[in-house]
Symmetry: C2
């Protein structure tokens, strides 16, 4: 019976009849089942591929609703896809079915500078939205590394973060309302246009970070901030890995609240040192990128405070980026760590674990000894300000032994993170790459409740099936 | 059948046998069914009374779980109660049953200054928690007017706000994790101890503001802030109501972000003018309390900016509170508005509607004309910074006509608020006083989904039945 059910659920349901109906909804120019085109929608930044059976690019909420009504009726999977920049497989059609691309749902519907909100469609590119807001002297803080191509819908579905999260929070902190199409095709509006609002349950947050498994986001109401007047950038070079990471919590305790507090270890530094304004000496074990934003006077005061605090420390030196070029070089170096890591080996496992800030030294020390013990390379870098460390486990080669070793490192890392009161993901989500570890972080009751929610919102399991929950059909 | 069901659900289920079991769980000293004691748990700040059948004061999560298992088995209602300071009836045992008081769950379990978090039990008094944090130079921002006696559990259940919300957000913005006992008696942990965390659905926010209808909160992980070094307080007196309220949005657009931006209209001012450092002249139509916090230099800069901006305005004057006594007098006046309003009449309807900041002038103008049209008094005051205006509709006497008129005013107000893209509640919740208006703000699909959630978490409807949803059994 179960076998029959699985066959029923996973065999191709995208026959000619259904595809005709999809075509009738979005128009022939905006859907396809050609194999070449399917390949374009088969991958994401997790480097895995799964072919969808069809792709549709709706251009209105009504079209999304019509597609979901169809999926509800015929029982085919629907996987929402922004730019496919996710790293955990959230946008992958692992069970086939329809990829619902949001590239045509790309309008900034409203910018309200007086009330500091905007309303956007999910296909709007994060960086383009930020550029548009700059014209109004406004800011939407979340800044994932992929901001030049990732979409606000994908950001909301995965609850993306970025360097600015240490001061401004992640996507969920900047979204106050949503329009969502449910699995039934019904349209649900959540939240308010106002800063406050406590009428009924908070459904907004339930959908943010739900990875397309509870509904398809078709509109986003974002909170905005006035654009800070000024920003200063510093590079702190440290001869001690542990002390550099200890400094992270100290800065925040001392009322220094940077808008960037990024960290990179020795291995990461070596990869990108040529890109830095002043390539660091051999004795440098870690670096912090520290940025302070706000009014000129506020920045001046915080910088003064930062300089005072660090000049007493013998293990580090603070370099001030005095030109826009230097700032750009620093950021270029930071953003190049991940791509440059492929110089070390062609395959890696990237994790975005998070621990309480004071536990970062323990985490990076653990990664160092794990690498030594297994004879592999592990890079650590990332958003130290909020304890969110990117751990890249490099596989030595394509051999089964190397893969086994890397997976062992990942498993050991995850156990360590949990023992440090941490979380397995700070901003990338669970998708398929972490679903096998869900029960390591979440108790049985949590997983049960989450599964019940999934079943309530999507009883036929058509929305991004196979994600988050390890064995969910 | 329905009649039978209602009888079954609402008739007394608290017989001797069940009360004995309650006694076995919490001890005879910590539960009661004496009628005198039941009166103490029958009211809240909504001024309505409903007698419970029993009260229990558990002192551990396990005791709460045991009580809920009992309720699940015997089908009696359980109403969680902090200090009973809520204004919408959230803590009222409208269907009888057991009041579960949190007064003995009052431990601050942990303050972690290094990671800027704390873990508390729900019965901790908000103001006492804040005092304790001050010793560590830390701050938990949410500051409801009742902070001297309200509890963190009640704040979380209702998603309480306060004057500081304009800068620091409401309760949901300061809570990152919860321990909750579900209707089944199972214990659920949500969220993380870390700033970030996106593993699975965001269950924390689902419980915050759920008014005790989805589970009983037994632990709260709060985010903390370093205590601001300095604060300055100003009173802005305006000869124009409209212009004063227009100024609210202007200040925020101009990058002045006060930690208090409170407003009071002419009627409110008259009630408390004797308490103010310099009683305002007859021509004053509105006042703003403006407070700026942060480092000394930051405050200085913002104050300079504020003075520059307001000195050009002919309709207002800015008074600087130069001593702690003056600051205290201003706050004493602000906090006295609500109690002092009973000088005008013995009964009132208090609402905490919220509109986008730029729509505040339209809202207060509407309230003025509504009062005139109906021949009644309406006070407007409150948290203008986030558009959250307290509207007090004073009933002229106890006659049915006066009550009808006041209810008419409330209904008209709510319709106006919705037409201004607002919400019926910014921080008080729905409870029983606003449940009849739920469908005015929320679409049918929203209400349906929320009811489904209620049913999922509490299929026997034992958790605070009759709240939020108008006709929920």
């Amino acid at each position: 019976m179960l076998f029959f059910l699985l066959i029923f659920m996973y065999s191709s349901r995208m026959d000619e009849k259904i595809f005709k109906k999809i075509t009738a909804i979005v128009g022939a120019a905006h859907c396809s089942r050609d194999i070449e085109e399917m390949h374009c929608y088969s991958y994401d930044s997790s480097k895995q591929t799964f072919l969808p059976e069809a792709v549709a690019l709706p251009d209105s909420t009504d079209q999304v609703a019509a597609l979901l009504k169809l999926a509800d009726r015929y029982g085919f999977p629907v996987v929402a896809r922004g730019a496919g920049s996710g790293t955990t497989g959230g946008a992958l059609p692992t069970a086939g079915g329809l990829v619902l691309g949001t590239s045509r749902l790309n309008a900034i519907l409203e910018i309200d500078p007086d009330n500091l909100i905007a309303i956007v469609q999910p296909g709007v590119i994060t960086g383009e939205f930020q550029q548009e807001l700059k014209k109004h002297r406004l800011m939407y803080p979340p800044d994932p590394a992929s901001l030049k191509f990732c979409t606000l819908g994908g950001n909301a579905a995965e609850c993306a973060g970025g360097p600015s999260a240490v001061k401004y929070g992640v996507t969920k902190d900047s979204v106050i309302g949503l329009e969502v199409v449910l699995a039934s095709g019904e349209i649900l509006n959540t939240g308010t246009r106002t800063e406050k609002g406590v009428v009924g349950y908070d459904l907004t947050r339930l959908f943010i970070g739900s990875e397309g498994t509870l509904g398809i986001i078709t509109k986003i109401i974002t909170r905005l901030q006035p654009l800070p007047e000024h920003k200063e950038t510093f590079l702190l070079q440290s001869t001690s890995l542990i002390k550099a990471t200890q400094l992270v919590a100290t800065l925040l305790q001392q009322n220094i609240l940077p808008c960037t507090l990024e960290y990179m270890d020795r291995t990461a530094i070596k990869l990108v040192s040529d890109l830095l304004p002043n390539p660091p000496g051999e004795d440098i074990q870690a670096m912090l990128i520290i940025e302070i934003d706000g009014s000129r006077q506020h920045v001046q005061e915080q910088v003064h405070h930062l300089k005072n605090l660090t000049q007493e420390l013998t293990y580090c030196s603070l370099q001030h980026a005095t030109s826009e070029e230097e700032v750009e070089e620093i950021w270029q170096a930071r953003r190049s760590i991940s791509p440059a890591s492929y110089q070390l080996s062609k395959k890696k496992i990237s994790e975005d674990v998070v621990v309480p800030r004071t536990r970062i030294p323990e985490l990076v020390e653990f990664c160092e000894s794990l690498a030594e013990q297994l004879g592999i390379t592990i890079l650590t870098f990332g958003h130290a300000g909020d304890g969110n460390i990117h751990v890249n486990i490099m596989t030595t080669d394509n051999s089964p032994e190397a893969t086994t070793k890397a997976l062992q490192a990942k498993t050991d890392l995850f156990h360590k993170v949990i023992s440090l009161d941490g979380s397995l993901s700070g901003e990338h989500g669970v998708g398929i790459t972490k679903s096998g570890f869900l029960q390591l972080e979440l108790e049985e009751t949590s997983i049960k409740v989450m599964r019940q929610l999934k079943n309530l919102f999507d009883p036929k399991n058509i929305l991004n099936p196979g994600k988050i929950f390890p064995d969910h059909a």
